[in-house]
């Protein structure tokens, strides 16, 4: 497995500082002994607020269209009923096995909460507060927790925004999508360019004010809230040209957000776009233009001091979205999820539990939940605990293991942090890093790099055989026993590697001997 004939010394040799004793690593060569590494106690929650004024032409999310009469009593009542049911779902949800196993649940209050949608900013602040209160009373909420919510321009004023912040929201993800009127119109967005500009200015100001207030009120606290906001754009929309795109990027930077998300239009089946457009035809930007937009975004934003820390995410230093990083670190961290169509991940076997996508189905799903009983803790554990102790057949184990490895690769390679080969070796076997490097070495140059974690030594993964892998120090944080690799990581380059990440990852999935059982 190891690449023979390595001319240069391995990137960072070293003996493990301390042997670690994760169940998974006792004997990685025997598949039947394999078990997924345990999750950390779950401290994240996603809440789906599905209401939208209308459906955008590209959208295939599970949403609930309420029309323009957002302020009407009927709509308010509908939202109230939904929110109350979400609260009931929160109340009746058992704790994750990893949390339960770690002892007192109250020791692990939530660190991140994310309100996604839909258009969460259609939900009045007092209702949002109800959900946060329910979360707080069930799981606890760190005082400095990151509480994100998606907001759309044109759905809020200063007072409403202030209401959210006072309810506990610390981070706003503003769905601007574009600063071009035609593009917004073609996409079927409900807001205008002037609304987008006003919203950006308002959010930026509100966040500055909130931070100032926080700094004053909790001057000496070490659990001070950090307020930030993200400006979200979509690339590849119909009507976009390179000029329009660059203008939108420039305007986005002008508002000085802490974070920018640049999503890429995916035309999903069943959407109007799917019926209307073919890539490269008419107003649809072609492949070449799409690639140029990705490059432009990367260049412009990095130039302004943003770190491209995930395929579609850019952040100023220390302003990464903590909640989203939980998703990408899903081999270690799980999350609760509440509301229609929301997907949770609380067990170490990687199983995602998706709630029903239709409102009525989800309602019956919640109504059918057994009530949470404080007395009998053993019944209150989420998911199938028996799984943790169950004996699997060799085939099942091989499949679980391949599936876990695939997830690790596909999520890890989307991030700036990349995949940690030492961790991969410890969890999936010492031969796996070699396999990965071998496949990457066959790819064209300039797409992937092998680097030390501190970034001092960095080489093109295609420059085999100069790159070899040897396990480096595997460390155990004395605090929480979590594994931390010290050495070699593999990541895709920005923008060239990230731009073809799907291709690179699918090549790995196709060729990695360890993924054959997938």
């Amino acid at each position: 497995e190891q690449r023979a004939g390595g001319v240069s010394p391995p990137l960072r040799p070293g003996a493990p500082r301390r042997a670690f004793a994760a169940a998974s690593t006792d004997d990685t060569s025997s598949p039947s002994a394999w078990r997924p590494a345990p999750l950390e106690p779950v401290t994240s929650a996603y809440v789906h607020l599905p209401f939208c004024r209308r459906r955008c032409y590209y959208c295939d999310f599970a949403i609930s269209v309420v029309g323009d009469a957002v302020e009407s009593d009927a709509v308010r009542q509908g939202m109230e009923a939904y929110v109350d049911r979400v609260c009931r779902e929160i109340e009746n949800t058992p704790f994750a096995p990893s949390t339960a196993a770690a002892g007192d649940e109250k020791d692990y209050p939530l660190r991140t909460v994310f309100f996604g949608g839909g258009t969460p900013s259609l939900v009045p602040p007092d209702l949002l507060r109800r959900v946060l209160d329910a979360l707080r009373s069930k799981f606890g909420l760190e005082p400095d927790a990151e509480v994100s919510m998606e907001m759309d321009p044109g759905t809020f004023d200063d007072a409403k925004l202030d209401g959210y912040l006072r309810s506990g929201v610390t981070r706003v993800s503003l769905g601007v999508q574009s600063f071009d009127a035609d593009v917004l119109k073609l996409a079927g967005r409900a807001h205008t360019v002037s609304e987008a500009r006003a919203a950006c200015a308002a959010v930026a100001q509100a966040m500055r004010d909130a931070q100032k207030r926080e700094d004053e009120e909790h001057e000496f606290s070490d659990k001070k809230k950090s307020f930030s906001w993200s400006l979200d754009l979509i690339g590849g929309l119909p009507g976009l040209t390179s000029e329009v795109w660059r203008a939108s990027l420039a305007e986005a930077v002008f508002f000085a957000p802490d974070h920018v998300s640049v999503y890429d239009l995916q035309i999903e089946e069943g959407t109007p776009f799917h019926k209307w457009y073919e890539p490269g035809e008419g107003v649809m930007p072609d492949d070449e233009t799409g690639a140029a937009m990705f490059r432009d975004a990367s260049a412009v934003l990095r130039d302004k001091g943003f770190e491209h820390y995930e395929v579609s995410s850019y952040a100023k230093p220390s302003k990464r979205c903590r909640h989203n990083q939980v998703y990408w670190n899903s081999g270690r961290q799980g999350w609760y999820a509440f509301g229609m169509a929301a997907t949770s991940h609380v067990d170490a076997f990687g199983e995602r539990v998706a709630r029903p996508r239709k409102m009525r189905d989800w309602e019956s799903w919640v109504d059918a939940m057994p009530p949470f009983r404080v007395q009998n803790a053993s019944e209150n554990v989420y998911g199938d605990v028996a799984k943790e102790t169950k004996t699997f057949t060799e085939t099942e184990i091989a499949e679980l293991r391949a599936s876990a490895l695939m997830e690790r690769l596909m999520l890890g390679l989307r991030t700036r942090d990349g995949i940690d080969l030492d961790l991969i070796a410890s969890e999936f076997g010492p031969h796996v890093p070699g396999e990965i490097l071998e496949v990457l070495a066959e790819q064209p140059a300039g797409l992937a790099v092998v680097a030390t974690r501190d970034g001092k030594d960095e080489r093109d993964a295609a420059s085999a055989p100069a790159v070899s892998y040897e396990p480096s120090a595997l460390l155990c944080d004395d605090d929480d026993d979590a594994l931390r690799g010290s050495g070699t990581v593999v990541r895709l380059t920005d923008p060239e590697g990230l731009m073809v990440s799907t291709e690179v990852i699918s090549t790995l999935v196709a060729r990695l001997p360890s993924l054959e059982k997938l």
Partner: protein, 726 residues
């Protein structure tokens, strides 16, 4: 309409009854002269020769047929029934469906006496052996099924559509690949019980040798023609084969119940094109059960009984054999002379192999064991034979003692006409593929295979087939029955390459073609092609044949609106998309048939394909020099379409020797990234990645380039229409 047809038929029956013998003689004489004239014009030398030999062979046969009928007697001089003991699982069915009244079922565990009453024994004069020949879809299998139920050989409740087509593929495609036969008892209008042996024929040109051997086992044939479609290419080819075997032909106009039926027009066509008398043609519908009585009566009346040669040394013609995993090879044969029974030591005259018969019996169509079978009868035998290659169709069975000196004529080895490479998609399946091919070959003597290896494709096999259908069937069976993922390279014919030192090598793989510098000449196989089509499409079909280097021979009008075109054309041009083109140009109305003619010198070159500057052997093809530019251009363009973009630019070139004659390139992939907002739900993304990865796994790598399966058939999909008009 149906009742009037029946009325007409019975009226005709009355007419025929008086002096039918005389009429028959007249009819035969008329038929023969017409056909001779026709065949002389159609297929001069080779057909004439073939005909002469068959006539000579069948002479004693025919003479015997006219002699007095003799009963087969047992030791006491009585006509007797052969004792039969049926194994338990089929006795019930045999009992329930047998036409005889006194059936006794005696299930016993050990091998025992055969139940004497299970199979009716009759003298040769009451036996009729016949086949059904037809163009595809003209209703052959349905007719066979209806006859089986009409004679109560198979009870209606046991009827499964297309009973004689036993393979899944056969039923799905509506074609017969493996032969079957069935013995029926029929009480004719004259009060006698006749034994009718129906010998099914495979319905495709790829298997014409097997068809001819089946026909050689008969004295007559039912020619089934669709009463609305009329004479088609296969009809003609099959009639030729039947005439070569000197069979009495009973014409059946089938599907008469359909609104488009035009029996009179079709009769005229049959008379004009085939030279057959249609005075006694039966108007029928197997589906609606019209005219079945007439057909059965005509079989009894018109088809001559087999000659009674039961006392001569044994000669039995093998017309089919198949492998049964529990019993070994089951040999299906027609006893021509003499008789044979359980325990006899027999020898196959062409392969020279000897066996002792373990079991012998007849088909109904399930196997029913008997003790002996005698001249004129059709049956099966099981003799611990390991492979169908040891019991080849066309071989003669004789006894070891008192052996016949002269084998039956017409035996020939199977010669594969089309070759292609079969490679497992997953290289781990190479061993499975080898085993599967071995198993298929046990049951398919015409299948050839030998290991082939290429840097891009890995390990696989070069396989030889009788034709395109045979190739498709084998591929499909490998994929379906053995669950193998296969990549198939474009089919190639066998070229005879003469090197400058005078040696001749057979080349079935374009990659093996010797270098131009050592080649003297290349010969390629030519076939005689017949296309039948409505006259409206003649122009378009002529254009097609000319594009494919066909040389026009002849055009005849079957009727005002239907035409037969004959071409001399290289087989290599036919085993491409020719049939698809024919069908699309004629809106599905045209049919075609071809037969091997000869090897002839052609100005051929090898067209190499280079992907990313590396030669891709499995994509190389041999084509005519005049067409090489069109092919080269078409091939690189097609490959550009079929090979997905990759992360770097891929030049694709076609070359002859070192000279590049066409080139194009696939530009590098610009972007492939999933940057969508998603709330932690990765299941869809995971699915997408898995799908993309699965696609990659099926691809083969040429250097760094991943080439999908479809690309290996690209040469078949090249649009040749754009190119030279011949």
């Amino acid at each position: 309409d149906a009742s009037s047809a029946r009325g007409r038929a019975s009226e005709r029956k009355k007419r025929t009854r008086g002096g039918s013998a005389r009429r028959r003689e007249r009819r035969q004489a008329r038929r023969k002269t017409r056909i001779r004239a026709r065949m002389a014009s159609a297929a001069p030398a080779s057909r004439g020769a073939a005909r002469a030999s068959t006539a000579a062979r069948d002479a004693p046969f025919a003479a015997a047929a006219n002699g007095p009928g003799r009963f087969r007697r047992d030791g006491n001089g009585r006509n007797r029934l052969v004792a039969v003991r049926a194994p338990r699982r089929w006795t019930t069915r045999a009992a329930a469906t047998s036409g005889d009244a006194n059936v006794v079922i005696k299930p016993k565990k050990e091998r025992a006496k055969v139940d004497p009453s299970a199979v009716l024994q009759v003298p040769p004069s009451q036996i009729r052996n016949f086949s059904i020949i037809a163009h595809i879809d003209h209703g052959k299998s349905t007719l066979a099924d209806t006859l089986l139920s009409k004679t109560k050989t198979v009870a209606a409740r046991d009827m499964e559509a297309q009973l004689l087509d036993s393979m899944d593929i056969e039923r799905e495609r509506g074609i017969t690949i493996k032969l079957n036969s069935a013995r029926m008892n029929y009480v004719a209008n004259d009060g006698e019980t006749y034994v009718l042996n129906l010998i099914d024929t495979p319905g495709h040109v790829d298997f014409s040798y097997e068809v001819s051997r089946s026909l050689a086992a008969c004295e007559g044939a039912l020619l089934v023609v669709d009463a609305s479609q009329g004479v088609e290419a296969q009809t003609v080819a099959n009639v030729y084969l039947a005439l070569e075997n000197d069979l009495e032909i009973i014409t059946v106009l089938n599907k008469i119940d359909l609104p488009g039926a035009e029996p009179e027009r079709v009769k005229r066509e049959i008379e004009d094109v085939l030279g057959l008398d249609t005075e006694d043609a039966v108007v029928a519908s197997a589906k609606a059960n019209i005219g079945m009585e007439d057909i059965l009566e005509n079989i009894v009346k018109m088809i001559p009984p087999p000659p009674d040669t039961g006392d001569e040394p044994l000669r039995a013609l093998i017309f089919d054999s198949y492998f049964d995993p529990y019993r070994g090879v089951v040999v299906i044969f027609r006893v021509v002379d003499g008789n044979l029974g359980v325990g006899d030591a027999v020898k196959f005259m062409n392969t020279g192999k000897s066996y002792t018969i373990d079991e012998i019996g007849i088909m109904r169509p399930q196997k029913v064991p008997v003790n002996r079978l005698s001249a004129g009868e059709v049956g099966y035998m099981i003799a611990n034979i390991k492979s169908v290659a040891d019991a080849r169709v066309g071989d003669t069975i004789t006894t070891t003692k008192d052996a016949s000196t002269e084998p039956l004529p017409g035996y020939s080895e199977a010669t594969p006409m089309v070759y292609c490479g079969l490679f497992p998609t997953d290289s781990d399946q190479y061993e499975d593929l080898r085993v599967a091919l071995g198993k298929l070959q046990i049951n398919d003597a015409a299948l050839r295979y030998e290991p082939e290896q290429s840097s891009a494709m890995g390990f696989g096999f070069r396989c030889g087939f009788l034709g395109l259908l045979h190739m498709e069937i084998v591929q499909e069976r490998l994929e379906r029955e053995y669950d193998l993922g296969l990549i198939t390279t474009a089919p190639s014919v066998v070229y005879k390459v003469y090197t400058s030192d005078g040696a001749c090598v057979d080349i079935a793989n374009p990659a093996d073609l010797p270098d131009a510098s050592v080649r003297d000449r290349i010969e390629e196989p030519f076939v005689k092609l017949e296309m039948f089509a409505p006259s409206d499409y003649v122009g378009s079909l002529m254009e097609l044949a000319q594009q494919r280097r066909g040389e026009f021979i002849d055009m005849t009008y079957l009727s005002e609106s239907r035409t037969c075109l004959k071409y001399d054309i290289p087989l290599g041009e036919v085993v491409t998309d020719f049939f698809d083109e024919l069908k699309s140009r004629s809106k599905g109305y045209a049919s075609m048939e071809y037969s091997f003619n000869e090897y002839r010198k052609s100005d051929l070159v090898r067209l190499d394909v280079l992907i990313n500057y590396e030669p891709a052997d499995p994509l190389a093809c041999i084509c005519h020099r005049d067409k090489s530019y069109v092919m080269g251009r078409g091939l690189v363009d097609k490959l550009k379409e079929l090979i997905p973009r990759q992360m770097f630019r891929i030049p694709i070139q076609a070359s002859i020797g070192t000279k590049v004659i066409a080139s194009t390139s696939i530009s590098a992939m610009r972007k492939d990234v999933l940057a969508k907002c998603y709330g932690g739900d990765i299941s869809r993304k995971k699915k997408l990645l898995k799908k993309q990865a699965a696609g990659k796994k099926r691809m083969k790598q040429f250097g760094k380039v991943e080439v999908p399966q479809e690309a290996f058939m690209a040469v078949l999909k090249v649009d040749q229409n754009a190119g030279s008009g011949g």
